[in-house]
């Protein structure tokens, strides 16, 4: 956090402004039951849900570690329509980082659930062998693509000059199956079907993990989401389906969160994260 951000409360008092009304400190994430859930971070429905303030911890348990703390907390509100869990994460971030590039990293966030609810939860750091966790991950650079940034290097580097690409030769009709297939061959990760290699149609990705270093795409993409800049940072909605495996009735449920600050070089294991946080879903099956 920038120094000026830390000074804001002091400045507010000096100016005689009334501080934000004190919230009752929630001790769990409580998802309010609603007929529909929204992916819009600005939807007024979120104001009705209690806010849980999750203190973020350094991921300093496995290499590569994050040793200097960055984002101090993430504010969480949750809604459910009985079939899906929608969570809005808000955190302070001085500048948006949504451009990929060498030594450039995207702002991002994620929520994590045990794949199977139980009193004895898997390790909060990415699960354990045989005890997987399910993750819904959002990345600011994907959001920019979904919001219309072209899939072209000139969208990342407006001053770039490119003479020619073999797959855009005049002899190839743009958009023809041959042209599309050739373009894919020149993007190895896309040719191999890497789920993150884009161009993304969703700003979120469904992932499964059974311990650090084992992260893999889920068999099916089921989550939805949307992120928006706020005056002080990001507000991101993550919506994911609930299954009976995630808990029924009064089964204790847990959820965990992570935030990456691109400006701080955070990526992969280098992140701010929470431990397991109690999760209550109103009217859950």
């Amino acid at each position: 956090m920038r120094r000026w951000q830390r000074m804001l409360p002091v400045l507010a008092l000096l100016a005689g402004c009334q501080a934000e009304p004190a919230h009752e400190t929630a001790t769990e994430v409580r998802a309010l039951r609603r007929d529909v859930v929204t992916t819009d971070p600005a939807d007024p429905a979120w104001d009705e849900a209690p806010e849980y303030r999750a203190t973020l911890l350094l991921q300093d348990m496995v290499e590569p570690r994050l040793l200097a703390p960055s984002t101090p907390e993430v504010r969480v509100r949750a809604l459910t329509d009985g079939a899906r869990l929608a969570v809005r994460l808000e955190w302070a971030d001085a500048a948006p980082d949504d451009l990929p590039g060498p030594a450039r990293f995207s702002d991002a966030c994620a929520l994590q659930l045990p794949a199977q609810a139980a009193a004895d939860v898997p390790a909060p750091q990415m699960g354990e062998a045989g005890r997987p966790v399910e993750i819904t991950y959002w990345r600011a650079s994907w959001q920019a693509t979904v919001d219309g940034r072209p899939d072209d290097v000139k969208a990342l580097y407006p001053g770039a000059a490119v003479d020619a690409y073999p797959f855009e030769a005049a002899s190839l009709e743009p958009g023809s199956p041959e042209q599309v297939a050739m373009a894919k061959r020149y993007a190895p990760a896309r040719a191999l079907g890497n789920d993150l290699a884009g161009p993304r149609e969703q700003p979120v990705q469904d992932l499964v993990s059974e311990g650090p270093g084992t992260l893999r795409p889920a068999e099916r993409a089921r989550s939805d989401g949307r992120g928006r800049r706020t005056p002080s940072g990001w507000a991101v909605v993550l919506v994911r389906p609930l299954s009976p495996l995630h808990g029924a009735g009064d089964t204790p449920r847990q959820v965990a969160f992570a935030v990456w600050s691109g400006e701080n070089g955070e990526v992969g294991a280098r992140k701010m994260r929470t431990g397991w946080v109690p999760l209550r879903i109103e009217g859950a099956p």
């Binding site: 290499e63 060498p102 030594a103 072209d152 797959f167 020149y186 990760a189 890497n194 070089g265 992969g268």
Partner: protein, 376 residues
């Protein structure tokens, strides 16, 4: 961390994974004395592998002018400075390798190039620094003003820093030939490998969000053909093959002969501890202090051996095999004034005379009624 043996530094060292050498190790010898920095290798690689979107700035192969040139900027200087003292005693490295010098929370000592560091390939690097060149300076060896060309590809290291640094094991070393590859289906673009590779031969592709690197043209090697940057080299400075450990070196293996028997080809920055597998014949006209830092303490002996090649028919012969065939030459022998490259089973691939035959023709061609001119 495991304990492994690194013969290039003459001692055991720490590495993230236990020692696991491939059945064969892809390796190469580059003779820096023959490189003219024409960049044909660079273009051959570029047009073959990195013509896609997001690959525009990638140079899996590059040639830079030392000591002024870098791609990316100051790639080696930044690390030399960070690593601290790098001394040798009796052939054994006394300092710390990049794995042993890893900072808290890291697997490897590294640094991350930024976009600007990739912005000036070859710009201004042939402009000699250090004032005017006085008349007669060219008669003094080594020259006051000097530079040489350093061609670089991925070193397909025995102990790759990129592989060690990847938190999700997306990088692997092929057991059959030791080529180091990034699984493009598994990579998540964390750029830990970009940070860790001291030679900066891993590049991040911003369009696919994954990191990419030299693949040693493995589809060609699998057919017994040398990579693109080798067969297109007009200076014939490159020779591809497989290198053994010193204990298993064979005299009839060209790479083993140059690296282990004659010790005329040396690894690049061996003190970093990766056991890189591209070996360089050091440039003979460069101050030795600079070369010792770059190629280790064997430099003086290597240059002496190389200078003696005129009187060493075996060494001279083997150097003549460079660029003589597209095929990988696993075995070789010399018969009189002829050097022969062979397949593993002994069948002949190529035959090259060590002394090129001289033809003397009359200046005036009476049959055609023209006067010939010499074009050396």
């Amino acid at each position: 961390m495991a304990r492994v043996h690194n013969w290039q530094i003459g001692r055991d060292m720490s590495y993230w994974y236990p020692e696991s050498r491939p059945q064969k190790q892809f390796a190469a010898v580059f003779d820096t004395n023959k490189c003219i920095s024409c960049q044909t290798c660079t273009i051959a690689c570029k047009t073959t592998w990195t013509s896609g979107k997001g690959q525009e700035y990638m140079l899996w192969n590059n040639v830079e002018t030392k000591p002024y040139g870098f791609y990316p900027m100051a790639w080696d200087l930044k690390l030399l400075e960070r690593l601290g003292p790098q001394s040798w005693r009796d052939g054994a490295y006394q300092g710390r390798t990049l794995f042993e010098a890893a900072e808290a929370g890291e697997r490897v000592l590294g640094w991350r190039p930024e976009e600007i560091d990739y912005a000036y390939p070859n710009v201004g690097e042939d402009d000699c620094a250090g004032g005017d060149v006085e008349q007669g300076a060219d008669f003094r060896i080594p020259h006051d003003k000097w530079f040489f060309y350093l061609a670089r590809i991925c070193n397909h290291c025995t102990y790759p820093a990129c592989l060690a640094s990847c938190p999700r094991a997306s990088i692997y070393k092929r057991p059959e030939d030791g080529i180091v590859l990034i699984d493009q289906g598994r990579c998540r673009g964390y750029q830990e490998c970009v940070k860790a590779c001291p030679y900066k031969k891993v590049f991040y592709n911003p369009m696919t969000g994954t990191s990419e690197k030299c693949i040693a043209c493995f589809p060609k090697l699998e057919q017994g053909i040398q990579p693109q940057c080798f067969v297109n080299c007009i200076g014939k400075i490159r020779f591809a093959g497989h290198v053994s450990t010193p204990a298993e070196a064979r005299e009839d293996n060209p790479l083993d002969y140059l690296v282990h028997v004659k010790k005329v080809a040396l690894p690049l920055y061996p003190q970093w501890g990766l056991e890189p597998n591209v070996y360089y014949v050091p440039p003979i006209h460069v101050p030795r202090r600079f070369l010792r830092q770059m190629f280790g303490p064997q430099v003086d002996a290597a240059i002496e051996t190389y200078r003696g090649a005129a009187d060493d028919l075996d060494l001279a012969g083997l150097l003549c095999l460079f660029g003589s065939t597209e095929r990988v030459v696993p075995r070789w022998k010399r018969t009189g004034d002829v050097v022969i490259g062979m397949e593993e089973d002994g069948s002949e691939i190529v035959r090259v005379p060590i002394t090129e035959p001289i033809f003397i023709r009359r200046a005036f061609d009476a049959a055609r009624g023209v006067t010939r001119t010499n074009t050396p």
